[in-house]
Symmetry: C2
Subunit: 449 residues, 2 copies
Amino acid sequence: MERVDTDAILDEVNTALSSGDWNRAVKLIEALRPPDQAEIFHDLPAPDQDELLPRLDLEDSADILEELEEDEAADIASRLDPGELASILDEMEPDEAADLLGDMNPSQAVEVLAAMEEPEEVRPLLIHADTSAGGLMTSAKITLHAELSAEKALEHLRVLAQSSDDVYYLFVVDADMHLVGVVSLRQLVIAPPSTPIRDIMDRDVISVEASADQEQAARLMSRYDLIALPVVDAENHLLGIITHDDLVEVLEEEATEDIYRLGGVPGEQAADAPLPLALRSRLPWLVLNLGTALISAVVLSLFEDTIARVAVLAAFFPMVAGVSGSAGTQTLTVTVRRLALGELLARESLQTLGREVLIGLCNGVTVGFIVSIIALLWKGTPTLGLVAGVAILLNMIAAAVAGVLVPVGMQSLKFDPALASPILVTTLTDTVGYFIYLGLATLAIVRLV
Amino acid sequence: MERVDTDAILDEVNTALSSGDWNRAVKLIEALRPPDQAEIFHDLPAPDQDELLPRLDLEDSADILEELEEDEAADIASRLDPGELASILDEMEPDEAADLLGDMNPSQAVEVLAAMEEPEEVRPLLIHADTSAGGLMTSAKITLHAELSAEKALEHLRVLAQSSDDVYYLFVVDADMHLVGVVSLRQLVIAPPSTPIRDIMDRDVISVEASADQEQAARLMSRYDLIALPVVDAENHLLGIITHDDLVEVLEEEATEDIYRLGGVPGEQAADAPLPLALRSRLPWLVLNLGTALISAVVLSLFEDTIARVAVLAAFFPMVAGVSGSAGTQTLTVTVRRLALGELLARESLQTLGREVLIGLCNGVTVGFIVSIIALLWKGTPTLGLVAGVAILLNMIAAAVAGVLVPVGMQSLKFDPALASPILVTTLTDTVGYFIYLGLATLAIVRLV
């Protein structure tokens, strides 16, 4: 089946709402899957959202709050009656409920938590930082002891797993809740019924500490193809598990963060963040850009006399600075992505540098040659062609060096290479480009005027 | 546990190999998990790889070939004896085996396929395009019929699921292999033993057609939190399933593709692709950039007289063109990413445009004002400040418009918005910037000389 046509259903829901037919609106939404419910719900006006949510099944309300963007969910939740919200939270996955409470104002969150039926599943999750492994985990509802037989374990599971959660792996603990192994549901099912868990479990279980960064948890899960990752404290006590849907979310979040940072949009940027927030995430970057443009401006100012005498030089600025800037961005992009994916290890930096300089040299020779020909044919000045061509060749090599060394250096200084590297690399290609080009032109000025 | 220190183990393996101690090298590698085995293996010289692989367990060899980059795996595979390779392929996941065979030269692949014990699992997977849903799927080894009881289904599973594959969902088919439902292993385990599958299965099963793009399959899986997605033909016959590890791989691949395209590296770019291939993926983009720089060059040439008379104008080129280019890149980046994540729907384009123009206006006023002040303080020319400030303001608005309309337009024309948009947007901000700035300067020339 294909994705639902949410445009059409949104229209139907809006028609129902405008004629006050709440029942029809409820039916239309309840017939959908959670992500589609949330997409429709997101597009309704706030008053309609507030009227509609309490009329939905508790489970549907819980699904919608889980699927909405965090800020929006917190907004809607804080407008609900605390008792009502508590009942919805009881239906949510504990980690999602904890995230929602964490996004609300603290006094309201405390009130809601007190009204919940099962606050003890959510409370321990509230203490972990949002972007840590602990912040991603949900409570491990079912744990097994190593002495249990496969048959007893399955019985245990039948009693506990009546809710809608999917269970694929079961983690095995000792009497003190130390994590000692993992067994898959498949292994339990196919094992002879009397086999003790300790004989079928895998003792080599990959886990992550609660304080680790969420990206580290995601890298472990994706590297080792895990659909559940247990989270432990420093003494290896099992605290919870991270599930595959969190993995997918973190991977997309981290990719978005890298894409935004490389594109000059540092900081979070929700699609419909209020305008002041959007400005705050973009303006500082532009002002920083302005600062680096000022460095280029100073270089250009140094050569004002040369430019005044040979104004035709200006026509080649976009080629000398721009194309080398693009080459630097190419190298930087490849390097940053390989660092992020863990594909570029420290031991390979030198080899990468050599490789990129060689690529820069080849590209520089080609592009420099084309520009020389353009200058010769267009302006009829061989010296101009030579000056521009050589400037591009040298700048391309500088771009390749900067494109590797800047992000690798950032990474080894524990900064995110995606964050500051783009501006450093283009500043470098701009200033070096202008300096070499105008410097050479000044040296050859008698042949240019 | 943490990631293994592969640096240290690589050293140990190299020491063992240099003293001819194959047994020790084999032991060191076999003690690792597959991704770590592959990382070490990748760093060994080819002759050592060729000697070592046949000495490893078939299962370890299969794991390594599965985990290596596709090109490298195909290289190594094609150097193996066909009979030996066939035995390794029999141990691999059918989809991975099919991918590997697809990357080898056809005559060799046919020979190896003929030598396999179970070619029938792999053969049907070979016909699908590499980047289609069909190309991702693996064979669905276990299917259930709706009339079976839960107990019989579990027995069936015990007989079939002795291999190492993890099974989480079981897909239910009718007598003609039409996909009719899905049941999780958990549901089977907790259902009363005599319940027929038809009473516990979920009939609302999400599937994808084999010809669909892999990105569409990945979007379905991530949107609906699926860890297995059934692949069907046009008549809803079950052909295979896509598993969660493929989802993660596709998401990373698609993110990398977008990052590379936005960074001006279109086309695939393996980390250690041979140099000519790397050049082929980068040089055309630079030449294209050169072409667009030529447009800016023509604009600059038009105003050669103005530049010759007021050379100080050149100092502000990097601010007028560069900072607006950065603003355009910001808008473009946010728009492209939201399109890729399916967060920006057609019905929201106009609203997005208005929002971005407003952001452009605010940023333009701020940055334009700062530049005016810089011009006034540095060069002591109020007119220059006014000209540069107004040019930046107008160019920022142009950048915002281009940053939304170009990618949205590309998408609606069925092009990838990440591919050509960056160059279009910066070309636009460059030429519009120079034109407005130098045009205004020419109009105000008497107050500037």
